[in-house]
C-alpha cells in the first residue's frame, strides 16, 4: 500500500484521568501525511485535508489567491462538474467546503460513517484532477469579490482589515486570507494554475480524520486514492514582517453611533519562545471575558462598551496583537487611554492571585477544548501546522504550572509596545478629536 515511516500513538493522562483520545500518524511513500483518531460516539466522521500553502503565499497585488485556488478545486474536475460534485456530496447529507487561512488551505467535510469512502474519493479527485474551468473561475471570482465588498458594510470588518494593512504594510500578512475585492479581481486563471502547480503536492499535504471509522480500511482507502499523486519540490515562505517604531493612526469615517477601536502591534509567531507566559499574560489583560483587566476598567467600572477584548493571532512567520472596544463617540478618547494605561500597567507585573486564577483556568479548560469531533480535528491540525510535538497535550499541564510571575512581566515587556502602536478607528470622528501625542496619521 505504500505506507512508510512513522507510527505514533498518543493517549494522554490529564488531571489524573486517562483521556481516551489517541492520535496516530502515518505517511505514504509520496510524503502525504495521515493523522487520525478513531472514536466511537456517533457514526459520523470529521475530515480535513490541509495543504500547507495559505495566504502568506499570495503574490503581491493578488491577495486572496490561495483562497480562490482551494475554492476552485470544488468547482469541477476532469471527470465531474462543480454542480455534480456538490450534488453527490449533499445527496447523502454530507457537507463539503473549502477555504484558506494564513498558513494553509483546507478542504473540510463531515459525513455519516457509511459515506466516508465516497467523500474521500471525491476529495482525492478534487485535489489531484481539478479542471480549472475558465467560466467557473470568472463566476467564483465575481462571487468572492462581491462577498468581500459586501462585508465592507460591517464597521468591525472594515476596522480589522484596515488594521492589518496599517500594521503589516507590504508584508503578505497585510490581508485577511480572502483578500480585498480589488486584489481578487486582479487574479487570472493563469495565477490559479501556477499557484496550484507550485504548492499542491502530497508531500505538502496532511489528511486529518476523526470519528467512527475502521482504521485499517481508512488507511487502505487513503492509499488507494492518494498513492498515485506525485511528490514534488515545494518552497517555503519565510520572511518575517518588520517592526516599525512610533505611533501610527488611521481613521475611517463612517456614519455609525460608536467608534470601533483597534490598537496593536506585531506579535509572536508559532515558534517564538515563551508563548505560554504570553498567553497567560493576555488572559489577565483582556482575554478572559468580563474578569480581564481591560473589561474591568472599560466595561464593568465605567459602562463604556459592551465588547472589550485583546488577543494574539499567531502564524508561522509572524503575528499580531490587538486590543479594542466599541464605544459611543464621546467616550473614544477615554477608552483609548484606558487601553494604553493597561498595556503599561501589566508590564509592571500581575498579582499572585491573578496568575493562579489564570493557570487554574488553562489547566481546567484544556479537556473542554476537544470535546467534539470537530474540535479534535482542529486540535490535530494545530499540532501538524505548528510543528508541535505530538505529546504536546501531555506536557501542557506542566508548561502552564511552571509559569512564574517574572515570566509574565517579561512577556508583557517583550510582546506589548504601548509606545509603538498602530491604531485604527472606524466611526464618525475626526483625527483632531483624538487627544494622543505624537501620532502619525495615515490616510
Amino acid at each position: 500500500m505504500g505506507w512508510t515511516k512513522r507510527f505514533f500513538l498518543l493517549s494522554f493522562i490529564f488531571l489524573n484521568f486517562l483521556f481516551a483520545f489517541t492520535i496516530q500518524k502515518d505517511s505514504l511513500d509520496n510524503g502525504l501525511v495521515l493523522l487520525y483518531s478513531p472514536a466511537r460516539k456517533i457514526s459520523m466522521v470529521e475530515l480535513k485535508v490541509i495543504v500547507k500553502a495559505g495566504s502568506v503565499y499570495d503574490p503581491k497585488g493578488k491577495g486572496g489567491l490561495s483562497n480562490l485556488v482551494v475554492r476552485m478545486l470544488l468547482r469541477g474536475t476532469e471527470f465531474h462538474s462543480g454542480d455534480e460534485i456538490f450534488e453527490r456530496v449533499e445527496y447523502i447529507g454530507a457537507q463539503l467546503s473549502a477555504g484558506a487561512t494564513e498558513d494553509y488551505s483546507e478542504i473540510s467535510a463531515r459525513c455519516l460513517s457509511k459515506d466516508l469512502k465516497l467523500i474521500l474519493e471525491i476529495i482525492a479527485e478534487c485535489l489531484q484532477k481539478p479542471s480549472f474551468n475558465y467560466q467557473e473561475f470568472k463566476k467564483l471570482q465575481k462571487q468572492i469579490s462581491s462577498e468581500i465588498a459586501s462585508r465592507m458594510d460591517d464597521p468591525f470588518y472594515i476596522g480589522q482589515t484596515a488594521f492589518r494593512l496599517l500594521l503589516f504594510g507590504e508584508h503578505p500578512l497585510n490581508h485577511e486570507p480572502q483578500g480585498f475585492d480589488s486584489t481578487v479581481n486582479n487574479i487570472t486563471i493563469k495565477d490559479v494554475k501556477e499557484f496550484y502547480n507550485l504548492h499542491y503536492a502530497p508531500n505538502n499535504t496532511a489528511i486529518v480524520l476523526v470519528g467512527d471509522f475502521d482504521q485499517d480500511s481508512v488507511k487502505q482507502l487513503v492509499g488507494k486514492f492518494f498513492n498515485h499523486w506525485t511528490r514534488k519540490e515545494t518552497s517555503e515562505f519565510s520572511t518575517p514582517p518588520s517592526f516599525k517604531e512610533g505611533k501610527r493612526g488611521m481613521i475611517i469615517k463612517r456614519n455609525v453611533s460608536q467608534s470601533y477601536i483597534f490598537l496593536g502591534f506585531l506579535g509572536p509567531d508559532y515558534r517564538a519562545p515563551n508563548w505560554i507566559p504570553a498567553r497567560i499574560m493576555n488572559f489577565i489583560l483582556g482575554g478572559s471575558g468580563l474578569t480581564s483587566r481591560l473589561a474591568s476598567e472599560i466595561r464593568e467600572k465605567r459602562g463604556l462598551a459592551y465588547d472589550v477584548f485583546s488577543f494574539f493571532d499567531r502564524f508561522k512567520i509572524g503575528g499580531y496583537f490587538i486590543a479594542g472596544a466599541q464605544t459611543k463617540k464621546e467616550s473614544t478618547n477615554e477608552a483609548i487611554t484606558l487601553i494604553i494605561d493597561e498595556l503599561n500597567k501589566i508590564a509592571e507585573g500581575v498579582t499572585d492571585e491573578e496568575l493562579i486564577r489564570a493557570k487554574k483556568y488553562y489547566i481546567g479548560n484544556f479537556p473542554l477544548t476537544f470535546d467534539t469531533y470537530r474540535e479534535m480535528a482542529n486540535f490535530i491540525t494545530k499540532i501538524e501546522i505548528e510543528d508541535l510535538n505530538i505529546d504536546y497535550a501531555n506536557k501542557f499541564e506542566k508548561l502552564v504550572s511552571d509559569v512564574t510571575l517574572e515570566e509574565i512581566k517579561e512577556s508583557a515587556r517583550k510582546y506589548l509596545h504601548p509606545d509603538d502602536f498602530s491604531l485604527v478607528i472606524v466611526g464618525d470622528i475626526e483625527k483632531e478629536e483624538i487627544k494622543l501625542e505624537g501620532i502619525e496619521w495615515v490616510k
Partner: protein
C-alpha cells in the same frame, strides 16, 4: 426510498432522563460519556414575549444583572469561580427563554448547580451596579444598530407583527432601556425566577442519578410558584406589507417574511424540507441557480422559524453588484412559483430529507449543543420528546405537501418585504 430506509436503521433517538422536584423544577439529563465534560444549563421560561410595552429589553437586562452579585457572592465573583474551574460560561436571552450555562470538567459540575441555585434566590441587583451595566446594554444595542442588517431584521419583525409581542426586539428599544429602573428589574426577577418556571438541563459525562441528587440538594428548598402565560394571536395579514430602510451601506439587502405556523404544527416539517430545497448547501436551488448559475446574489438564504405561538418563513438576500434588488426579488418569486406548481424532483426531496437526518446525527457531536436543543424544544414545543419525533415527521413529507404548503403560505397577501438601501 432505499436510502431513506438505511437512515432509519442507523437513526438512534436521543435518550433523556426526566425528573421533577416537588417545587416544580424540571430536570432533564442527557448522558454522553465521550469526553470528560459536562454542560449544565438553566432555562427560565421568560423572554421578550413576556415584556409589556415600556419594559422591552428587561429580561435581557436582568440577564446582565444576574452576573453582578448575590447575597453570597460579589459582582463578577461568579465569573471568577467558573474561570478558576477552567469552565466556559455565558448566558443568552431570546423570545421565550433566558438561559445561563457553564461547561466544566466532569468532577466539578456541581459548582454550576450551586451557583445557579444561588442566582435563583439571592440576586441583589444593586443600584451601584445597575447604572453602569445599563450603559453596557445600551452600547450593546448601538452595536446592533451599527451592524448593517441589525435594523433591517428589527424593522422586519415590527412590520410583520402589528400586535403580537413577537414584534419586540430582545435587546429592547432604547427609549425603554433609558427608563427601566433597578426596581423594575428586581420585580421582574422576583416574578419569573423560581423553580416552577425553570428547567435544568445537564448534558455530558454524568451519572443521571447522581446529577438529579445534586440538583435536588441545591434547589429543593427554594419555593416554586407556577406562572400562567397569556397567549396572544396576531390577526391574519390580508395584504402585502413593504418597507425601505436607508443606511450607509454599499450593498442593498432584501428580506421577505411569510407568516406560517407555530412549532409542532404538521406544516412546520414541510417548511423545513422546503428551506433545505431552497437554500441548504451548494446544490440547493438558491445557491446553484441564483448565486452560481445566474450570478444574481452574493448571499441568499431561506429558513423556517417556528416558535411557541407563531412562525415565519424568511428569505434574506444580498444582490450582486449591478443586479437590482427588484430583479433579485422577482427571481426569488420565480423559484417559489416552481415549488407551487410542483416542479420538484423526487431526488431533491430525498436529498432534503437525508440532509435533515444527517444534521440530526451531526448535532449529537456537542453535549452543550444537545443541551440547548433539549431546553429549546421543552420550552417551545412542550416536551423534549418532540426532538425524537422530528426525523419521522420529516420522512413523512411528500411532494403533495410541499405543493400545498407553498401555495398556502407563500402568497403576496401573506408576505412582508423589506429593502435596505444605500443612503442617497
Amino acid at each position: 426510498m432505499l436510502l431513506n430506509i438505511l437512515f432509519l436503521l442507523t437513526f438512534e433517538p436521543i435518550n433523556v432522563t426526566e425528573e421533577t422536584l416537588k417545587n416544580g423544577l424540571k430536570i432533564l439529563i442527557y448522558e454522553d460519556h465521550f469526553a470528560p465534560v459536562v454542560s449544565t444549563q438553566i432555562h427560565y421560561r421568560v423572554g421578550s414575549y413576556n415584556e409589556p410595552s415600556g419594559l422591552t429589553g428587561i429580561s435581557h437586562l436582568l440577564e446582565h444583572m444576574a452576573f453582578k452579585g448575590t447575597k453570597r457572592y460579589g459582582p463578577k465573583e461568579y465569573d471568577r469561580i467558573i474561570d478558576e474551574a477552567g469552565g466556559e460560561e455565558n448566558a443568552f436571552t431570546s423570545t421565550h427563554q433566558t438561559v445561563y450555562w457553564a461547561n466544566l470538567y466532569k468532577d466539578r459540575y456541581e459548582l454550576e448547580i450551586m451557583l445557579e441555585a444561588d442566582r435563583m434566590k439571592n440576586l441583589l441587583i444593586a443600584e451601584k451596579e445597575f447604572v453602569p451595566e445599563k450603559m453596557v446594554v445600551m452600547e450593546e444595542r448601538r452595536l446592533g444598530e451599527n451592524d448593517p442588517y441589525g435594523s433591517l431584521f428589527e424593522t422586519l419583525d415590527l412590520v410583520t407583527y402589528f400586535y403580537h409581542p413577537y414584534r419586540n426586539p430582545v435587546i429592547g428599544f432604547m427609549t425603554d432601556l433609558e427608563k427601566i429602573s433597578r426596581d423594575d428589574v428586581y420585580k421582574w426577577y422576583k416574578k419569573y425566577y423560581n423553580p416552577a418556571n425553570a428547567i435544568i438541563v445537564i448534558s455530558g459525562d454524568v451519572d443521571k442519578k447522581e446529577a438529579i441528587r445534586l440538583v435536588a440538594r441545591h434547589f429543593e428548598k427554594i419555593k416554586g410558584k407556577p406562572l400562567q402565560e397569556p397567549e396572544f394571536t396576531e390577526p391574519p395579514q390580508n395584504g402585502e406589507r413593504r418597507f425601505t430602510l436607508y443606511k450607509e451601506v454599499n450593498f442593498p439587502a432584501l428580506v421577505i417574511n411569510f407568516r406560517t405556523v407555530k412549532i409542532n404544527h404538521p406544516d412546520s416539517y414541510v417548511l423545513d424540507v422546503i428551506s433545505k430545497i431552497l437554500s441548504f448547501g451548494e446544490s440547493s436551488r438558491f445557491k446553484r441557480i441564483l448565486i452560481r448559475q445566474k450570478s444574481l446574489a452574493v448571499d441568499l438564504d431561506a429558513y423556517s422559524s417556528v416558535s411557541k405561538y407563531d412562525g415565519t418563513f424568511s428569505i434574506f438576500g444580498i444582490p450582486q453588484s449591478k443586479v437590482s434588488i427588484e430583479k433579485l426579488e422577482e427571481e426569488i418569486y420565480l423559484e417559489i412559483e416552481r415549488l407551487k406548481s410542483g416542479d420538484i424532483t423526487d431526488k431533491e426531496i430525498e436529498k432534503a430529507k437525508n440532509q435533515t437526518l444527517a444534521q440530526f446525527v451531526f448535532r449529537q457531536d456537542s453535549p452543550a449543543g444537545i443541551g440547548f436543543t433539549i431546553g429549546h424544544w421543552e420550552i417551545l414545543s412542550g416536551s423534549w420528546q418532540n426532538i425524537n419525533l422530528y426525523p419521522e415527521k420529516i420522512l413523512d413529507v411528500k411532494k403533495e405537501d410541499i405543493i400545498r404548503v407553498s401555495n398556502q403560505y407563500f402568497t403576496e397577501e401573506n408576505r412582508t418585504v423589506g429593502y435596505l438601501m444605500p443612503r442617497r
